[in-house]
């Protein structure tokens, strides 16, 4: 076992982990932050996407010890302290961008990473950026709508 420390959603945290402990295990089992989901064994579904030092990563494909000292943000860090949803999360709700909700934490974190670097993406850029996030329910369309709306471009696809 080795000691790992990092900042998660603005709070300094520490824990004892094995070499093989994945970041997603540390978040879910060590810290109880079960909003980050695990949807596959092959690093392809994106349900586990969190931000590490500002960049989107698959928490199932990062070892906890490789995140030592990092700044991590999970879905739990998206709403404000009083529970008010972020504009992006609210847009997901308003545009029916989730059904079962399993993919949603990863979708929101990927979308937030996109908008941080590209505040007004085209619909094509949104779809391309979500290439690593699989959704089995929505058909993606409403997810794209929600992200366009959150970027202040609701009218761009409102006609559909």
């Amino acid at each position: 076992m080795a000691r790992v420390t990092m900042t998660v959603n603005g709070k300094a945290v520490a824990g004892e982990v094995e070499g093989r402990t994945l970041l997603v295990q540390f978040l879910r089992e060590g810290l109880g932050l079960t909003g980050t989901h695990v949807g596959c064994d092959t690093s392809q579904c994106g349900a586990c996407v969190v931000h590490m030092d500002g960049a989107p990563v698959k928490a199932c494909a990062v070892l906890a010890l490789d995140a030592d000292g990092a700044e991590v943000r999970t879905i739990e860090g998206m709403a404000s302290a009083d529970g008010t949803l972020s504009p992006l999360q609210q847009a997901f709700q308003d545009h029916h961008a989730l059904q079962c909700g399993f993919c949603t934490p990863g979708m929101v974190m990927s979308a937030a990473a996109l908008l941080a670097g590209n505040p007004r993406p085209s619909e094509h850029e949104v779809r391309e950026y979500l290439e690593g996030n699989l959704c089995r329910c929505t058909g993606y369309h409403n997810i794209v709508k929600a992200i366009m709306a959150a970027s202040g471009q609701g009218a761009a696809i409102a006609a559909e």
């Binding site: 093989r20 994945l22 990563v57 070892l63 996109l114 950026y129």
Partner: protein, 261 residues
């Protein structure tokens, strides 16, 4: 995943020392290795993470050569190579998905030599030099067939040097489920001639299509490769495409790369 010991050294020298033990393996971005470990297809006793080694990161262009640190992520190459070597930046920016690009590294990609990976095509077409902790390897001597390279056990790719071509482009026919290349072709034209490297297609991994190189050296236009045919023999056949289909795609993607270069 089987248990292993984990270390994260800060220098190449310390990483080389940590890799000396039996059954030690380097961990780059982990985008290939961690899923492999999770499926218990590998069981190293010790993983040596290269992620904290600052001297292995970064992109620098000087004197017509682009030098990329072996631990540089795909996302960093997409950003930082955009001006000096746009074809390479575009290739890096279309590997996998954004989360894979945040972690995956050029050193890991070349060391892994997946037959469908993108970077091997760029390195081979641009006549890159692979710099390791102990020597320099010309790319023509580096790839040794499916998942095999000239690297010795414990040898680390510290840098990759690309002579920047006068014209270059990578055309990738996406396999949408894996996000790798079903067929990818990198074309590079420099004063030394034209080199065409093909990934995704052949059972032996990345290879040069010399017939196309000769045709393009005489006439660097998409039409120059229209009459050429790649033999289906030795091409990959799987549920995504037959050997004949892939052989045909090689010609199509070569023409597209030339048009884009």
């Amino acid at each position: 995943m089987y248990a292993f010991e984990f270390t994260r050294p800060q220098t190449v020298a310390a990483a080389v020392a940590a890799l000396k033990g039996a059954d030690a393996q380097a961990l780059g971005g982990g985008q290939t290795l961690i899923p492999t470990l999770r499926q218990r297809l590998a069981s190293p006793a010790r993983l040596v993470s290269l992620a904290a080694i600052a001297e292995m990161r970064g992109v620098a262009a000087a004197g017509g050569v682009l030098t990329v640190g072996g631990g540089t992520t795909h996302a960093a190459v997409a950003r930082e190579a955009a001006a000096p070597f746009p074809a390479l930046a575009r290739l890096a920016g279309r590997i996998g998905d954004p989360a894979v690009r945040s972690r995956g590294t050029i050193g890991g990609s070349l060391a892994n030599n997946d037959p469908s990976a993108c970077y091997p095509a760029a390195a081979l077409a641009a006549a890159a030099t692979i710099v390791t902790d102990r020597r320099e390897i010309a790319v023509d001597d580096f790839f040794r067939g499916l998942f095999a390279t000239a690297l010795a056990t414990g040898e680390i790719i510290t840098r990759v040097r690309f002579p920047i071509p006068a014209r270059a482009a990578y055309a990738k026919f996406l396999q949408p489920a894996s996000r790798f290349a079903l067929v990818g072709v990198f074309v590079a034209k420099s004063s030394a001639g034209v080199r065409v490297a093909v990934t995704g297609a052949a059972e032996r991994g990345v290879f040069r299509w010399t017939a196309a190189e000769t045709a393009l050296a005489a006439d660097f236009r998409p039409e120059a490769v229209k009459g050429l045919r790649m033999a289906a023999e030795g091409m990959i056949g799987d549920l995504h495409g037959s050997p004949e289909y892939r052989a045909h795609l090689v010609g199509v993607m070569t023409a597209r790369a030339v048009a884009a270069a």
